[in-house]
C-alpha cells in the first residue's frame, strides 16, 4: 500500500499506547496522525481521505463517545474504531449504533486492529465515492426551477401528466415541457431512475 492509501488518526491520552499504535500502523505502510485528546483532534483540520479514526473510549475531557457525537453533529463521517480497556455492553451498543466500525478491547490482537483499519479504510473509500455521486445529484437537483421541482415531486409520486396539470393548475402541455426539463437536468433516462435519485436525495414525494 502507498501513503496515498490513506491516513489513520489515532486519539489516545496514554503516550505509550498512542506511540505503539502509530508504530503498528506505520509498520503496515499506512500514515498515522496522533492526538493526545479529542479536543486536539477536533481543533486540527483533517481533509485527508480515505481516513479512519482509532479512538480510545475513556479519556479525560471529551470521551471517545463524546467525540463520535460531536463529529456526527458536524457531519464528519470518518469511520471510527473504538478501543477500550474495559468495555461494557451498553457502551458498545451505543458506539456501534452510532456507526462505529469496530469496538476492540485492549489489549487486542494487533491483527484484529489492522483488519479493522483496512475495513474502515475501505468503508471510507466507498463512502467517499457515494458522497461524490450524491453531491453530483444534489447539484443537478439544485439546478431545477421551483416549478420544475414541483412537477418532479408529482412525477415521482406516480401521477399522470393530466393529473399533475389539474393539481398544479396548468395545461397538460406545460407539464410535459417541465417534465422534459426535469429528466434532462437530472440526467434520468426513466421515471424509475428519477425515483431512485429522489430517494437518495430524500426529495419528498407529492401525493394528492
Amino acid at each position: 500500500m502507498t501513503e496515498a492509501a490513506g491516513v489513520v488518526f489515532i486519539v489516545d491520552d496514554d503516550p505509550s499506547m498512542r506511540e505503539s499504535l502509530q508504530n503498528l500502523v506505520r509498520s503496515i505502510g499506512l500514515r498515522a496522525k496522533v492526538f493526545a485528546s479529542a479536543q486536539d483532534f477536533l481543533r486540527s483540520p483533517h481533509p485527508d481521505r480515505p481516513a479512519c479514526l482509532v479512538l480510545d473510549v475513556r479519556m479525560p475531557g471529551l470521551s471517545g463517545l463524546d467525540l463520535q457525537k460531536r463529529m456526527a453533529d458536524a457531519g464528519t463521517d470518518i469511520p471510527i474504531i473504538f478501543l477500550t480497556a474495559h468495555a461494557d455492553v451498553p457502551m458498545t451498543v451505543r458506539a456501534m449504533k452510532a456507526g462505529a466500525v469496530e469496538f476492540l478491547t485492549k489489549p487486542m490482537r494487533e491483527q484484529d486492529l489492522l483488519d479493522s483499519i483496512q475495513q474502515a479504510m475501505e468503508r471510507d473509500r466507498t463512502a467517499s465515492a457515494d458522497r461524490a455521486e450524491t453531491e453530483d445529484l444534489r447539484r443537478r437537483l439544485d439546478s431545477l426551477t421551483p416549478r420544475e421541482r414541483e412537477v418532479m415531486q408529482h412525477v415521482i409520486a406516480g401521477l399522470l401528466n393530466k393529473q399533475i396539470a389539474g393539481e398544479l393548475g396548468m395545461s397538460e402541455a406545460t407539464v410535459k415541457i417541465h417534465r422534459h426539463h426535469v429528466m434532462e437536468k437530472m440526467k434520468a433516462s426513466s421515471v424509475a431512475e428519477l425515483v431512485r435519485m429522489a430517494d437518495r436525495l430524500s426529495v419528498p414525494t407529492q401525493k394528492s
Binding site: 505509550s16 499506547m17 499504535l21 508504530n23 506505520r26 509498520s27 480497556a85 485492549k106 494487533e110
Partner: protein, 545 residues
Amino acid sequence: LLATFFVAVALDYFFMDPIRTLFFDRWEKAVGLTVFAAVALFLVEFGVARRRDERALQNSQEWGQSVFDLSPTMNFAVDPAGTILSVNSISAEKLGYTTEELLGQSVMTAFHEADRQAIQENIARCMQQPGRTITYELRRLRKDGTTLWVRETAKAVQLKKSQAVVLITCEDITERKRTEDAKLHLAAIVESSDDAIISKDLQGVMRSWNKAAERIFGYTAAEAVGQPVTMLIPPRLADEERQILEKIRRGESIDHYETVRLHKEGREINIALTVSPIRDDAGNIVGVSKTARDITERKRTEEALRKTQSELAHVNRVATLGELTASLAHEINQPLGAIVNNAGACLRWLAAHNIGEARQSTEHVIRDAHRASQIIKRIRSLMTKAPPQKDWMDINEIIGEVIAFLRPELHAERVGVQMQLSDELPTVLGDRIQLQQVLLNIVMNAIEAIRGAGEGPRTLVLRTDKHDAQHILVAVQDSGPGIDAGHLDQPFEAFYSTKPRGLGMGLAISRSIIEAHGGRLWATANESRGATFQFTLPIQSEKPA
C-alpha cells in the same frame, strides 16, 4: 476506859492496906492487880484501836466516794440484780439523766436493747468471782434514745457480809468506735476492690496486700507482705521501679501508667498502675500506695477489636478495589496493549527487514512491560492484608500515594485535583494502610459525588493543615451536590450508600479507623457547593521507646 483504870488504881491505893501504900503482903494481891491492870490496859487499847479504825474506814469511804463522784469516767454501783445504788454525776450527764432519775433504776434501762442480755451476764460473772475485774465493750442508751459506745470495767465487792455490790467504771469510746468503723469501712473497700491495692515503704518493702492483689498476682497477703515489691517486676523493667520510687519521694503521683508485672506463676500481666505517696500526720512521705488494675483482658479486647477493624478495613479495601476494577483494568491494559502493538509492529518491521524500526519497537516493548509491573506492584501494596501496625508517617505522603493510585479514576471522571498541602506538618503515628484506606474511601466518595453532580466544575481539593496544637487536619473538598446540613452524619451510618454497588460501609469504617487513631472524622457542607469531609489526627508529643 481510862477512868475505870484510874478508879481501880485509886481504889487500890486508898483502900488497900496499908493505906496509901502499895504494899503487897500477899502475892495473890499482886497477881490480882496485874490481871486487873492488864485487863484495863487491853480495854483501853481496844477502844483506841477501834476508834482509829472507825475513823480510817470513814476516811476511805469518803475518799472513795469523792473519787467515784469526781472521776471523769462514768461510775456506777449496782446490786446483783442490777439496780443502781450509786452513780456519779458525769454518768448521769453523759446519759442525759439526773442522778436522782437513775438511782434505784435498773441499770438495764441505760443499755442498748441488744446488749441488755450481755450486761446481765457480765454482772452475774462478777458476782460469781468477787474481786475479779472484767472488761467489755457495749452500747449504752441515752435518755433521748441515742447510743453511746462504752468500754466498761466491772468488779464485785463485798461491802458488808450481807451485801455485795458491783462497781462499774465506764469510758465513752464512741469516737474511737467511729474511727474504727471508718477504718473497717475503708478496709472493706480496699478488700472488695477489683483493683490490687498494695502499700509499701520507701525501701520498696510491701506492707499491705488486698484480695484483688492476691487474685491478680497470685500471692497471698502472707506471702507478699514483708517482701520487696521487686518480686512483682520483670527483671528487664527493674529500672522502672527505681524511677517510680524517685518520683514518689519527690511527692509526685503516677496516674494510670500502663506496664507489665509478673504473676506468681511467672507469666506477665498487663496492668495500669496508679502510685501515690502516703504521708504521716506531719506530712512526711512514709510510704507508697499502689493501685494496679489488671488490663490484660482490656488489652486482649483492644487487640481483637483492632484485628476486626483491620479485617473490616481489608474487606472494605477489596470492595473499593472492586469498584475500581474498570479504571484498574484500563490502567493495567494500557501498557499490555502497547506491548502487543509494539511486538506486532516489530514482527512486521522484521519482515520488511527494517532492523532500526524493529529494534525501537522491541525497546518499547521492554519499557511498557516494566510499566505494567510497576502498576501491579502499586495495586498489590494497596491490597496487602497487613497486620495493624503503627508507624510514624507524613500524611502528605499518604495523600500522594492515594491520589497516584486513583489517578486513572480521576482521569476517567475528568476530575481536577488541587493539592493544598502544608509542608509544616509533624509526622503522625498511625497505621499507613488504614489511613490510606480512609483517604481512598473519602476521595472515592468525592469522585462519586462529583459524578452525580452533572454539569459544573469538577474539582477536588485536598488540604492539610494544623488543626490546633494537638491535631493535624486533612480535608477533602468536592464540588458534588453536597449534603443537607441536617443530614451531615448520615453518610457515616453503616450500610448507608448512594451508590448502586456500594457496600455503604466505607465511611463508617473510616470513622472507626480515625477514632481508633484518636482523631475525629466529620462532614460539613461547603458554602458554594459540594461537601467537605475532614479528619483530625493527634500529634504525639513524644515518640514511644
